[in-house]
Symmetry: C2
Subunit: 423 residues, 2 copies
Amino acid sequence: MAEIKGTVDMLGRSGLTPVDDAVKILMDRLSTIELSSETVSLEQSLDRILAKPVISPEDLPTAARSTMDGYAVRAADTFGASQTMPCYLNITGEVLMGEAPAGEVKKGCCHKIPTGGLLPDGANSVVMLEHTVPVDETMIEIVKGVGDGTNLIQRGEDIGIHARALDAGHLLRPQDLGLLAGIGVADVPVFKKLRVGIVSTGDEIVPYGKKPLPGQIRNINSITLSGMITRAGALPIDYGIVSDRMEIFFPAMEKAVLENDIVLFSGGSSVGVRDLGEQAVEALGPPGIFIHGVALKPGKPLLMGLSGTTPVFGLPGHPVSALVCFDLFVQPAIIKLSGLGREMEPPPQTLAAKLSRNINSAPGRKDVIRVRLKKNDGSWIASPVMGKSGSISTLSRAHGFFFIDEDSQGVSEDSTVEVFFYK
Amino acid sequence: MAEIKGTVDMLGRSGLTPVDDAVKILMDRLSTIELSSETVSLEQSLDRILAKPVISPEDLPTAARSTMDGYAVRAADTFGASQTMPCYLNITGEVLMGEAPAGEVKKGCCHKIPTGGLLPDGANSVVMLEHTVPVDETMIEIVKGVGDGTNLIQRGEDIGIHARALDAGHLLRPQDLGLLAGIGVADVPVFKKLRVGIVSTGDEIVPYGKKPLPGQIRNINSITLSGMITRAGALPIDYGIVSDRMEIFFPAMEKAVLENDIVLFSGGSSVGVRDLGEQAVEALGPPGIFIHGVALKPGKPLLMGLSGTTPVFGLPGHPVSALVCFDLFVQPAIIKLSGLGREMEPPPQTLAAKLSRNINSAPGRKDVIRVRLKKNDGSWIASPVMGKSGSISTLSRAHGFFFIDEDSQGVSEDSTVEVFFYK
């Protein structure tokens, strides 16, 4: 795979790929992958992404409706009416909610109408209750005239028939479900939820419910990655802990690639297992590995490849490193392959905070510093949560993280940093 | 209920409650409600909120482990070692992943150790591979000495036995599940998910899958509110469309209050139905209504009450008004009753944007202006999405909203506004 820019190995034989370059290479690789879609019921469509535009099959509202409690009138009958010069109209009918209006509003007449009531024939406007004074059961005084179309929502004014209600790539929020309900769209074309397979390796890893023997450690990564996949809007498929013996690991990876849209394996941390991951991805067929090793701390040993059109990510075995790699590479990949339209992407949720102390960093790599946030006198203070990269409690204590970029040797106390939240 | 501050009616007999006061009154009412908890499996605990602190039942790691590939040594054997003055150690063993180390590291000796390997007896430090040069199969040269405890994570250094792993009120994020897995906590005490009942009224409302007859309108609010409840972390229970005839509406509300932690009804918009909602909440027993009508546009007719310890919200019938009231009142109520700890609450996700045009506002009420965001030359432009308050398409076109406060008569073009996102 010598022709692929960014392919390097972990054994120091060439440089590490800078994070931004690695993300660009990844996004470029993903851009040719075709997305699949399916139809789901409106009830099932929350937080899914539209695969096709929705064209409104009808006008909403289906006919002109009043937006006020009051009287449906012919506007011309009220022209010039005022407190000092009121006009008088005969009440000749009443519009009831949920029913078609009965009869026509004739010249000099009006019908009582509630908010949401359908405008009766003959009328072209509504006088709000507050601008009327009852004379008796059959007549009102109008103290403020209305123009044509006042206090109405016209047929199709919310959305017109054949208008584009929602674009492809739209993330279906609660209000979007409301719009689809309003125009009677009960079946919704959405992109399929991505299936993301998780294979954990490492002979020292045991299921978290099992008491570890000396030298063993409970499986932290599978449940953590599952949660991150769920929160990214995809479906985690956990293949459990797979032995790092080639004859067991290779077929497990092959099965995971067959059954999923994306595969993550979280490696044992010994050099032998690292090599095994590299060999396994190459064995899964072309195009193979395109990134191995990034200039990132923690997260350096990241491996990214493609088996056919299935992206495969080899994540570091250490939980903190694995999660940093998820945030920076896997999550953007899931979003890219989810079909989300550019304009639905919210700006990244960040917050400016003052750093509580100096942090040093080696130039030439991107450092991810986890922080805890605290409000102090109305401004935010970010305190670095230090700890070894295998230390899961540091992630649990952190509210978010900030970056120290490749060209920086550190950030000094009281500097302002841009903190990204762990959602 | 004359003794309750803020109780006003919709018929102009007294003033409307300012939004911030209404929120304070609501929060005050909710603060006495006791929360229920339950135990769920770790797999089921993502995004749930801890009801009790978790105390670690064991040390993590359970014994000192290497954080590097290298050699386990007695640090004193390496003191002063350098490129020019290396020291030499005999390789007398190897630590295997997942196994207890065999034998002891004696003076002048070392054992090969992988990252994550358990520190063998006798050793107190690890020299990383990069600082060694192999001499032959049985001996290495060490070119950089290490101090006691170098390249190790000590027993209990991630989290110690009996230490508080997580506090009550903690929102369980993926990394928190990882921490719980790491210390073998498979059963998690969490607050019960809140059940939020939704009752839709209005004789003009039909199920969205049904073709509306003249005067009828499809049910938009039930599915929209369901989605918002789900996104707020609670469980929506939809009671469908209930007739606004007292003998049907009252028992339906009674049932909903019995079966849920919070009840929303989304009223028909006629004056008669509004009164019915008020009567129904009073009929549900004390303490009854504490807010009726807020100085808010859209959203003025909001009603809030308590039946025993169950909050009941009467939302406006118009979808946009209903959703604004949900955002400002129901969502904070759900969060308050979910048990979420203060320090897990993320700062509100807002963004500063320039307003694309002048917007007028009546003083004395809070206006909620829905906007669409667009990036222009690196800064954000917020364009108001105008439309009637019944117009669901305006909400669907909006990325978020900003407030015009009570004391303002409007905001002029190019002013900077703080936009809250629709998640």
